[in-house]
Symmetry: C2
Subunit: 419 residues, 2 copies
């Protein structure tokens, strides 16, 4: 076998060429390929299941944790969701080539913008083989080529799925290299991708925090990433008590392991004595452990004391840090200092407090009177999402088709020259 460096570089170069070749692809052609992928996956579900069983067996033999095994498993419903996802992406409007913001300049030039793909997207991910199809679908629809580097534990599943993607592309006269799976799952293959800024336009890592941190630290290619989800709900002095109870309970308990789950609850001092006891009872019934500041513990004496580390922790578990604050501005400072810029919500009936919170909380999603759990691409109406960005440039929050595109300038003249 050729060396890993050359193999990855050649794969990325082929993807780059496929990206240019796709410049001429019609929307109907891309949609037909997506729908064909759904058909092929359905038809070949037993072959996919067999490949997945092989991965599961090896993973179990290696002693992979149950949570990881769970993510690796392609159940019937996961496969059906993959097909449904493909159909949904096919049904979304094609963003490529959209023009807007045109203005007429005094010299007669018409100057505006056209939405265009980014180019080649490098996806680096772990476990879940369904990411292979989700990423392929979103990249293809948005006119990008992609280089997919899945984890070793999902190798056979990813290969089986990638083979069907290639077939669907070929049958629809699209370049097979538009979706290229790196068939080498060594650490080195990731390293080569991260250094190939000439061939790969953006890297999107999906996986645990250590993977994402390593990729961010090493990449010479721009990265769109999600790190932590330390989300807050702030119960304002002007909160409606029932909305506060409902939202604070839902934001913590509807799922524990998701990045949009609340990890710290902030309560205005004027409402703490009224709201914390019934809320604590709801959490206790659900088995949620509370860790509070001194003022919280004055009201709820039986709970643990929060250490300073708690304000910076993404528990991903039935644990919640609780802090009583003196003012809206203390809440905002706390969120901007300890939050992860993901999603934060205020519960209030005050117009001015809501406006202040929306303007000054520096997070990808800011909410009024809604559960942080709504922060995802489907709930936002994007139709699909490839991740949730906690970065500040290019795209913030849920990343859908638009997040995989950029805008170039279009200048329409009739012979103008510059003096």
């Amino acid at each position: 076998m050729q060396n890993i460096h050359d193999y990855v570089r050649q794969t990325a170069a082929a993807a780059k060429q496929a990206f240019y070749d796709m410049g001429a692809a019609a929307t109907a052609q891309k949609n037909a390929a997506l729908l064909r992928m759904a058909e092929l996956i359905k038809q070949n579900s037993s072959a996919i299941a067999a490949a997945n069983a092989q991965d599961m067996e090896q993973a179990a033999a290696k002693g992979l944790e149950p949570a990881l095994l769970d993510r690796l498993k392609l159940t019937e419903s996961v496969v059906e969701n993959m097909c449904e996802g493909l159909r949904q992406v096919a049904a979304l409007p094609d963003p490529v080539g959209e023009m807007d913001e045109f203005r007429l300049r005094p010299n007669g030039l018409q100057i505006g913008k056209m939405r265009v793909p980014l180019g080649v997207i490098g996806m680096i991910y772990e476990s879940r083989p369904n990411v292979t199809i989700d990423a392929a679908a979103l990249c293809l629809k948005s006119g990008n080529a992609c280089v997919l580097r899945g984890g070793s534990e999902a190798f056979h599943s990813n290969m089986a799925i990638a083979g069907l993607i290639t077939q669907a592309l070929r049958e629809n006269s699209l370049p097979a290299a538009a979706v290229s799976l790196i068939e080498n799952t060594s650490r080195e293959s990731v390293g080569v991708m991260l250094q190939s800024a000439d061939l790969i336009d953006v890297i999107i890592p999906r996986g645990g925090k250590s993977l994402v941190e390593r990729i961010s630290a090493e990449a010479r290619v721009p990265v769109i990433k999600h790190l932590d989800g330390i989300c807050h709900v702030y119960i304002d002095r002007a909160a409606d008590a029932q909305k506060a109870l409902d939202i604070a309970f839902n934001a913590k308990t509807s799922r524990y392991g998701t990045c949009n789950t609340m990890e710290t609850l902030l309560v205005h001092e004027s409402r703490a004595a009224e709201i914390l006891p019934p809320l604590a009872a709801k959490y206790a019934a659900k088995g949620v452990e509370l860790r509070g500041c001194a003022r919280t513990r004055a009201i709820l004496p039986d709970i643990q004391t929060a250490s300073s580390k708690d304000w910076d922790t993404e528990y991903l578990a039935p644990i919640l840090a609780v802090k009583v604050v003196e003012s809206l501005s203390e809440a905002i400072v706390h969120i901007n200092t300890h939050g992860s810029g993901h999603t934060d919500s205020i519960v209030t009936e005050s117009y001015t407090d809501a406006q202040t919170f929306l303007r000054t909380v520096d997070s990808a999603s800011v909410m009024v009177n809604a559960s942080t759990r709504f922060a995802d691409g489907f709930e936002y109406g994007l139709g699909a999402e490839i991740g949730i960005s906690t970065d500040k440039i290019h795209v913030r929050g849920p990343v859908g088709l638009h997040g995989l595109t950029s805008q170039k300038w279009v200048v329409l003249g009739n012979g103008q020259t510059r003096e």
Copy 2:
């Protein structure tokens, strides 16, 4: 003096705090500060001139090249332009807080986007002290704080200007650290900025290619950069001959040292014999050296032969590479292979050829029947520009106020929770 690492980190941390404090700044307050800066610079022009004379003297003693000395010099007209630039930025609409793209979701949530500053912008630049005021103005107006690291050769000029900026901020109750000049011009201070991703949200380098390359290679902070400007004009089979002559001449000769100057001319084979001789005569009269491919030299036998290196060279000089191509698609492949993704223009009367060029040339600006020289923020109506990005993510082409902002999601609910 404290060590450089701590000094730069503390300066950036103060800028971060100033960014949060500015969240509450009114547009009128920012505009008043900008107009006050213009006044102060006008009033203190002799002090600025004295500081600049000191820099010029030291630079001359060090034997700086005349071109660099020229950029360093703050003539009366450069200072007047700085003041005029401040007044223009004050007159631009404030992008911060603009909301759009709202949609009503089936559950009653109103979900849209709000335009927000990026945070702290690190500007690293050489020579031109007027960048200090341009950067400060654009960052302030867009609600960002900035950390400015100018070159050692402009130290006294930058200090004089920064002092007046600070005064104008203070007089208008804005945080002085919103515009922070790093008073240490060592290489180390740049290095600390490039590693401070926790304090600086984006780095914008302005200067020679080697500076920009070094910064891109070392930065752990996202970079918005301009590398090369290898711009093309393609004279299509369906070109109007007069427009072709005018545009090709203007794109090369109106200025040689700018990044939007044409460096390679592509001509469709069916028009080469007609257009190249009169065009070559115009270039010859202006002293432009031509370097052609074999087919160009068959028509213009007296010119130099272009080597393969010429297609990848930004001359920034009265030199032009010329290539005859067989087709529009050969022209597009050449541009996507050898261009720098800056600005490329087609001269054509063919609607379909124009559309194909606009869609498939992968550059920040794509033009029809216009000189590449129009690619800049003022010509595009942005009112001002902080640079021209040849990157593909976040912002492409001229970067104005909008390029220094991002969009966060705003979710307006009335108590919604997720099932």
